[in-house]
Each structure stands twice: as C-alpha cells, then as structure tokens.
Symmetry: C2
Subunit: 341 residues, 2 copies
DNA sequence: CTGTTAGCGCGTTCAA
DNA sequence: TTGAACGCGCTAACAG
C-alpha cells in the first residue's frame, strides 16, 4: 500500500505542497475553488495527514499521558478509574486530544515510563489520577516544570499544583453528620490506604463532625485497610472485638464497603438493621448492591471532564483562574442507614 | 527550557550527529571509548531522544490503540476493562510499547477516532476489547488490512481475524452442568446485550448442557437485559412471573449478577437458599459480595497479556501460529449454589 | 491567493 | 570506526 503524502497531492493537482497544507488547515487565504479541487484529489487518492510528521513540526502531540496507580495496586480494580477515564475521554474527544495510558506495574516502572513520555516529548501534559504522600512523580513533573494536573488534592504545594478535587473534608463531615442526625453516636471509620490524601481528608472530616457534636474521637474506632478481602475481614474483626461496638461506620470508599458489608453479614450483622454504613464515591455498584449504599456522590465523571479541561487549558496557554478546582458533592441517600429515634 | 538535540551533543563532543545516533542505538561499530564520552555529555546536558522525530523516520510508533466500547455504553463500568488493561499494560511495558486509549462516546465518534489513529499512522496496531455483531470498525480494519487483534470471538471471519478468547460455549456448558450436578433442573439464563458475541456463546453453552441432560430449552427461561439497574429488575420480575419458577440462574456476567441478586433479595428470595446463581468473569467483586459468587474464572488478566503479545508479534512481523488463542477457564466454586440432593 | 525555502529531530545510506 | 548528505511528511516563514 503506497503511502500518499502531501507531495503526491501537490503533483496531481499542480499546486505546491504548502498550498495543500493550507487546505488541510482550512486556511482562509486559499480560494474555495482550489480547496475543492485539492480535496477532491485527496479523497480520490485516499490521502490522510501523517500525525507524527505534523507533531514533529508543530512541537506538540495533542496527546496527554493519563497516569493510573501502578497496576500492582489492587485499587486499580476500582470502577472509579473507568469512570474518570470516561469523563476525560469525552472532553478529549471533542478537543481532538488523545490519551496515552500508563502501564507500569511498580512505582518504579511507572516513574520510568512517565520520564520517557515527558522527556521524549511524546505527550503535551499529564493527568495524575491519584494523589499520594511523597510521590516522586510529582517532584519530577514539578522540577521539569511540565504541565500536569492532578485528580485529588496534592499532599504538598497545594497552591502551585493545578488539581481537580472534591472538598473531601467537607464530604467526610457531611456524611458523618448524616449519621449523627439519624441518631448514631458510636461511629467508626474504615479507611483505605493511609498514604492516600483522599483517605486522610475524609477521615479529617469524620473527626471534625464528631468533635463538633461533642463526641470524642477514639483511636480504636479508626481502622485502615486495603482493598483486599482479607483486609475487609480484619477491619470487621477489629470492630467486633471492641468492647462498645459502633452503631454506624463511615467507609472511605464504596468498594471497601462491599467487602465490609459482606463480612459483617458473615458475622451475623445486617446493614442497616444491626449497623449502619455510609461511604464515598457513588460508583455504579453502590446502587445495585443490597443494601443500596447511602454514599457521597463525588461526581467522578465530572472530575474527569474538569481535569481534561484544565490540562488542555494549560497546554494551550490559556489562563487558569484557579489552581484548585472543586467539584461539588452531594449525598445519595439510599438504604444503608437506619434511623434511630 | 532549551531543547537538547542530537546536534547539541554532536557539537559538544566534537562527533557528528550520526555518531551520536549510533551511540543511542548502541551500535556495535562505535568504540566503547566514544560511547562513554558521548553518554557522559548526554547526561550532562540532559539529553533525551525525541520520540516523535524517531517515529517519523522509522515509520512506526510502538504504540497500540486500545479500543473500549463507546463510553455511552454502561458496560464500560465493568471492572473487566481495567483488568484487561492491566494485562495489556504489563506486557506492553516490558516491550516498551504504549497504549493509546479510545475515547469516543458514540459508535460513530469511536469510528472516527479509530480512523484518525489508523490513517494518521499514529498507532502500529489496534486491540479491540469487545466483539459485537456487525461492527463497522472490524470491517474498516479488515479492509485497510491494518494489524489488529480482538479480545473475544469475531462474529465473522473467525479464521482470518486474530483473536484472544475463552471457549465461552464450553464455559457456559461447564457452569450449567455444575448446576445440573447439584440437582438443579429448572435453570434460567440471564444474558447481557444480545449483540455481544460473548453473550451468545455463553447462552449456547447453557443450551447445550440442558439438551445433553435431556432438559428442554424454554424460551421463557431466557432473558436479556442491560447492565442498568432497571434491567436487572425487569429480568427478575420476568422470572418471578413464571408459572414454574427456576431453581437456578446462569447469568452471563458477574456485574449483572450483583443487580440480579439484590433484586431477588428485594423480592424476598435469597441466594442460594431460595435460588442458586452462577455467572462468568470472576471479577474482584464476585469474591467479596455476599454471597460470594460461584463463577467461571476466565482469567481476564491473561486475556490482556495474550492480546498484547499477539498484536506486538503481528506488528513486528513475527509468525503467529494460530488465529484463535484460547485462554483456559476454570470454575471458582463459592457460595451461590445450593446442593439439592 | 500561491510558491519557495527551510527546517522539526532523528536514522540511514554511502563513502571515507 | 566515523562523517556527510539525505529524507521521513509536514508546517511556517518570507516572497511575490
């Protein structure tokens, strides 16, 4: 299959390559007549611009690297990611941008890969889909002064790094207060990985709500677990060993909730009859499992859209009003909370 | 930030650009001594090869377009996708390949995008993460003779299209037989989108198992639904309206199972006490929900790895022994099946 | 409105 | 073992 280039079109039409190029760009200084002619020949010969060649000369790829947690991380299974990806994709598509997905299994592999993308100028910008404590990737990007935005709150340099986030502290407070308002007094917190900023913030909100309600925050009531089944088990077992058992739990992520609920059931505790439970994210699952989860809807899709919008703005040198873009949350009230009067 | 190119290194070291290029390629005809020198200067100046420039000259990008269902499709929420992506990524990483993710919301957008990737020579190959009936994308790729592999079984041209698949007919048969062996006689089938080849195959297996057991296949017992909640509801309602209610259900996808189980519970039917249920995929969830699902483990991760391996083989002109690559399945026995003696 | 010229940064002949 | 020259396919100055 012969490759059709701009030159071929030039030859056939009798115009110069630059004219052809202008037709492609739909340059206004080209007469409609020539445009017609040129386009006809393009169709005929099946011409299509070579993106790589164009990228080389314009020094831009219109491609953004989208970085997920390293794939060894269990949290990758979280439907959260496909949902942000959907959001990002929808905006990218309309702006004709592409997403290059990271694939590293370990932190180190991921780092190498990002280095390759960035230093090799294979992407114009980066979207980080998570925020961790002491992330070398962030340091690297900052040092290189490379355009990037983060979904979630940076652990450092909050007013230098553009990020799209929920007010997770507020969200944690809101959902805990919902429990309080429904008469719950002994509220436990089960969080995911403790080095995730999002976990920290939600926990902070939980603590704030308790304090404001005059309820002391007890260390025993706060548990950290992984996304693994055994983790869910341990968390539940820890709770069951408490002298005074909680009447409600705030879980930092819907996915963990699923495990926790099923563990509780195994120990004969039903949600919400015996114990109430709320969590965060409002992934598709939280609505279809039994009981349907009362959870904070953080609008994952919008997080994706806005981060896409932000990175494209940065890459196209538009002004960005704010470093911190907050997506509002709301509570999806469902059936995992019992009303204690 | 000044861009460091091969020429800069050439200037500083006193060698010619072509020598530098050879050092990068680690060409054996360059003396170790010069290599050392050149590399030292590269480090010093912070040189990194420009991937776009390289891609242009070698006429290859070492990136593969990975195509998901259009993002309007609810099935995208299925953790299946992140899991294949993990598999693909792990192999790509080790071969230094990149993944370009599709983002189209509608079928048409997706088609346009693929056209752009392919015609614009922005990718060396394509992996299709689904298989539908009458897919124009497949026709396009076939017609252009563009390298691609499919995860799942093609609806047409089975022995022309390279694809990585499970033996879903066998899987459907196996899991149905498991039900049969446990004493179930009235077995219903709930399938996802009816134009997905995978649904069709699993149903075929279900029917085969029934026939071989001498049980007539009843149209009433076969229901198709979407991934939506309402769909799950309708499916369950249809089942409950049956004069003779089934004692077990084969569901074509774990994600649908979740909805079905929760609907059943809403109607007072517990799994497996009142009705047994089995399904397919063995996503992370199926293990942590209650009851833990007895499901066909199709090894999603491996599907990803093998499809990655295949597309890279094709793109690097290696010989591929088989068009059809089958990933073996096995049954993960858990707690959603009751034994009727 | 259109053509000429010059690169973008790199790999690869061919010659030395 | 190294260098000069060319070209990948395209855009963008500068001319006219």
């Amino acid at each position: 299959m012969k490759i059709v280039t701009i030159k071929d079109i030039a030859k056939v039409t009798g115009f110069s390559p630059s004219t052809i190029s202008r037709v492609i760009a739909n340059n206004s200084r080209i007469s409609e007549e020539t445009k017609q002619k040129v386009r006809a020949v393009m169709d005929e010969l099946g011409y299509h611009p070579n993106l790589t060649a164009r990228n080389l000369v314009v020094q831009s790829t219109k491609t953004i690297g989208v970085i997920m947690p390293s794939s060894a991380d269990k949290s990758l299974q979280n439907p959260f990611f496909t949902e942000v990806l959907r959001g990002i994709g929808s905006y990218f598509h309309q702006k004709q941008f592409s997403m290059l997905l990271s694939s590293g299994q370990t932190e180190e592999e991921k780092f190498k890969e990002i280095e390759r993308m960035v230093l090799g100028k294979y992407v114009d910008g980066i979207i980080l889909l998570y925020s961790r404590l002491n992330d070398s990737v962030v340091d690297f990007l900052k040092e290189k002064n490379f355009p990037f935005v983060m979904v979630g709150k940076p652990s450092e340099y909050k007013d230098e790094i553009v990020h799209v986030d929920n007010d997770n502290i507020k969200a944690g407070k809101d959902i805990t207060e919902h429990l309080l308002e429904n008469g719950h007094k002994r509220i436990s917190f089960i969080g995911g990985a403790a080095d995730l900023v999002v976990t920290i913030d939600r926990q902070k909100g939980y603590e704030t709500a308790l304090k404001e309600a005059g309820i002391p925050v007890s260390e025993e009531y706060i548990i950290h677990t992984e996304f693994l089944k055994s983790g869910g088990r341990e968390a539940v077992e820890q709770i069951l060993e408490l002298k005074v058992k909680p009447d409600a739990i705030v879980v930092s992520d819907d996915l963990i909730s699923v495990g926790v609920i099923s563990m509780l059931e195994e120990y004969g505790l039903k949600v919400p009859e015996h114990i109430s439970l709320v969590s965060f994210n409002n992934i598709y699952f939280s609505e279809i499992i039994h009981p349907a989860l009362t959870t904070v809807d953080i609008q994952i899709y919008r997080l994706g859209v806005e981060s896409a919008k932000a990175i494209i703005q940065i890459c196209t040198n538009q002004v960005l009003n704010e470093k911190r873009i907050i997506i509002p949350h709301c509570i999806a009230y469902r059936n995992s909370v019992k009303v204690i009067k």
